[in-house]
């Protein structure tokens, strides 16, 4: 009986919308465009900054393209531009990349 009921009853779609929005917005709030808005800079400038910082770091350390993140933080004293670099670290058991953050 309950099987029949659930067969005919349409699944509500709003929980799907809710979950999709939650995931999407948590990504978008950390995005380059959003950071650019918050810093009053253009997204192109931030992207260029990200690229150039990466180039400088690459001269000294092997690091991949997607291991650099630029974020903004809003604090009482003002906005902070934070550059996160994920540096590869060789561990003896398995070669995962450890999260060494160089801030500022």
């Amino acid at each position: 009986m309950s099987f029949l009921l659930s067969f005919f009853k349409k699944r509500p779609s709003s929980p799907v919308a809710y979950n999709r929005l939650k995931i999407l917005l948590s990504h978008e709030r950390a995005s380059i465009e959003n950071s650019a808005d918050h810093l009053g800079l253009s997204a192109t400038l931030l992207e260029q900054l990200q690229r150039e910082i990466l180039e400088v770091v690459k001269r000294h350390i092997a690091i991949e393209q997607d291991k650099i993140h630029i974020k903004h933080k809003h604090e009482a004293q003002g906005s902070i531009l934070q550059v996160d670099l994920e540096l590869p670290i060789a561990t003896d058991s398995h070669s995962t990349t450890n999260n060494h953050r160089l801030s500022e």
Binding site: P12, S13, S14, P15, A17, Y18, R20, L21, K22, L24, L25, E28, R29, E33, N34, D37, H38, L39, G40, H74, G78
Partner: protein, 271 residues
């Protein structure tokens, strides 16, 4: 003290212009001196919704360019005491809205009115930024629907960052107005609830306006819903919102399904 309030959303067609007219009229009916400023350059519509389309002589761009002064340009509403409209132009030259010119006009309006309501164009470009730049308060109009919510989130980010208040390290007071809310669809689980929307966007709720025939009828005759149908559910949602803007502590009414007895019997049979 005079307050500048922007009605904004990111997405188009969610109810900004409808809201500007209805809220502005409600504030004026409470004895406030109110001006509605149309920032949707090129696609002016607030004049039509206010029923003032045949009274437009000069517009915002004329004032900005120094071709007319405010007293020549402001249109006084014939129904509500203390309610005025500053129409925009139909020019396609969006650059006519200069930062310096807008600042000057807003400053002058602050000296004349209790409330300056800015009806923002859709999008996140120049026009929308000009509409929000001088705001002290913002009403974010949102429909309980994924793309509208996503765009609102982006607009909230911009209100927090690219406005004058943000540059002075202050904060714009933000309120959420949910419109085109359909209690029946919410009941079926096919529309996000008020709580869902609040949880996602996390700014204080100003009101919930249901999807309503009365809005369409009001725009047909060129009157804010709070003027033409003051007893309707949509109008009371807007009046409530206006009281909350005035600092009154009123509980937000969430629209519910209103079924007649016949409809109720019919629905039961149909199951």
């Amino acid at each position: 003290m005079s307050k500048v309030l922007v009605v904004t959303s990111g997405k188009g067609g969610v109810g900004k212009t409808t809201t500007t007219a209805a809220l502005g009229a409600a504030l004026a009916m409470m004895g406030q001196k109110v001006v509605l400023v149309d920032f949707d350059v090129g696609l002016r519509n607030l004049d039509l919704i206010m029923g003032a389309e045949r009274r437009v002589v000069f517009d915002l761009i004329h004032v900005i360019q120094g071709d007319a002064n405010l007293s020549q340009t402001l249109i006084k509403d014939k129904r509500v005491e203390g309610l005025f409209l500053l129409p925009t132009s139909q020019t396609r030259d969006k650059d006519a809205l200069t930062q310096e010119g807008v600042s000057r006009v807003i400053d002058e309006l602050r000296g004349k009115f209790d409330w300056v309501l800015c009806d923002s164009p859709a999008g996140i470009e120049h026009g929308a930024q000009m509409a929000m730049y001088h705001a002290d308060k913002a009403v974010i109009v949102v429909n309980p629907e994924v793309s509208s919510i996503r765009d609102s989130d982006r607009i909230i980010g911009m209100l927090n960052s690219t406005t004058q208040k943000a540059k002075e390290n202050g904060e714009i007071e933000k309120f959420l107005l949910i419109t085109r809310y359909d209690p029946e669809r919410v009941g079926r689980g096919d529309m996000l609830t008020t709580d869902d929307v609040l949880d996602i966007l996390s700014i204080p709720l100003l009101g919930v306006v249901p999807e309503s025939q009365d809005i369409l009828v009001s725009s047909n005759v060129g009157a804010p819903v709070t003027v033409s149908k003051p007893k309707s559910v949509a109008a009371s949602a807007y009046s409530e919102a206006a009281r909350r803007l005035m600092g009154e502590d009123v509980q937000v009414t969430i629209p519910t399904e209103r079924r007649g007895l016949l409809e109720w019997l019919f629905k039961r049979k149909a199951i």
